[in-house]
């Protein structure tokens, strides 16, 4: 059951301890419970505890809870400036000049969390061009950002 979660974490070179006794899969969605919830829960719940993400068409879609958890650990991350934060939550990709700091992998193809200057997780993306090289181009592709909450509402 842990496999999709572990695979997803590995893209960020991240490790999180998730207690399997509290990890629950309901249809295609993953939740993390605790003792208090486990004591009272019935089978037919719609949502329970901390939502971690879902599988769709063989792909894992993380929740912002999971991304926040990854953000608190050692993992691939970039910190972006204010203007880039705003553009990113509007769904845009990231230019090299908007990046303030890089932690972890700089390699093309790696997944990175995108943090604002207060170290809050705004979403994640995929590195398109090695971050060591100077570039005027988009270097990180936006995969998911917190503006998604607004897009979900308008669906």
């Amino acid at each position: 059951m842990m496999k999709p979660l572990e695979d997803f974490l590995s893209h960020f070179n991240a490790k999180i301890f998730l207690d399997e006794t509290f990890l629950v899969k309901k249809r295609n969605r993953y939740f993390l419970w605790n003792e208090a919830l486990k004591n009272v829960i019935a089978r037919n719940f719609f949502y329970a505890g901390l939502y971690l993400g879902k599988m769709r068409k063989g792909r894992f879609f993380p929740s912002f809870n999971l991304l926040k958890m990854i953000g608190k650990t050692k993992a691939n991350k970039v910190v972006v400036d204010k203007k880039t934060e705003w553009l990113f939550i509007c769904g845009r990709d990231i230019f090299k000049r908007g990046i303030k700091k890089v932690k972890g992998s700089r390699e093309k193809g790696s997944y990175v969390l995108i943090l604002n200057m207060k170290d809050e997780c705004l979403g994640y993306g995929k590195i398109l061009h090695n971050l060591n090289k100077t570039s005027e181009r988009v270097v990180i592709k936006n995969i998911l950002d917190i503006g998604d909450f607004l897009r979900r509402e308008s669906k």
Binding site: A36, V40, Y47, F64, E85, I89, I146, F149
Partner: protein, 293 residues
Amino acid sequence: MSNKKFFEERYAKLGWKFKYVKPKQAIRINTMNIAEEKVVNRLEALKIKLEKVPFLEHGYWVHHSEFSLGATSEYLLGLYSIQEAAAQIPATLFTELKNKVVLDACAAPGGKTVQLADLMQNTGVIIALDVKKERLTAMANHLERCHVKNTIIYNLDARHASKLKLKFDCILLDVPCSGNFSTDKQWFRKRTIKDIERNAKLQREIMTEAAKILKDDGEMIYSTCSLEPEENELNINWAIENLNLKVAKIDCYGENTSTKIFGKQLDNQIENCRRIWPGKTQGFFVCKLKKVA
């Protein structure tokens, strides 16, 4: 007589002179996610003008904002919620919430569920019910955005809540109601006394079920955003007479309610309820119920 006139006359009999009001937009800081002053400073840096709501611990009125309050990073990160000031009152009336087992019986879209989780600092358990399946996704998104960890949502009619086989320390009954004109421009055009009576009956049924699953020393908060006594004082009077419940004193914004409604003398405990006429906030009614020992 026009519908509007009919209702205006009823309000006059209850001691309130009708006037149009537009409730101010308000926010509530999610202190489980961040220190309050940090968010306030950040919003002020975005040129959002805030005023602390004097009767709320974490509530602010928004006087001016150049952009939508529902689109800032701070909002999307779950640091605050948009919640009208009167609607922030009910959840704050429980004596103790941390580590308790709490029922939010009519919960979607989850404004008060998130507030309860915040007051509990994500401890204990909240069971959140709503009968309308289509409203549950919005509630789930709301919980995810605010990083709530202690809530279980069921698609369940509150009138069948005993199926959960649990007893609750605290029950919030933010019951479906007829609403009021201050948040709905069409209100006078569409509402009839029949609707109000239908809602009042549903509310009594929900209260009846909730009374069965409240612990002996538990607390139940009943709230509506209706101005109509059938859904408020008269229903609570019915609960006193039929459900072995008493109305406890509360200390919050609003007026003590009258024990005489449309000529009918009600139980004296009814004056412990609070009625909030539209003005600084939208219209609201709230009270705390406990079991008679």
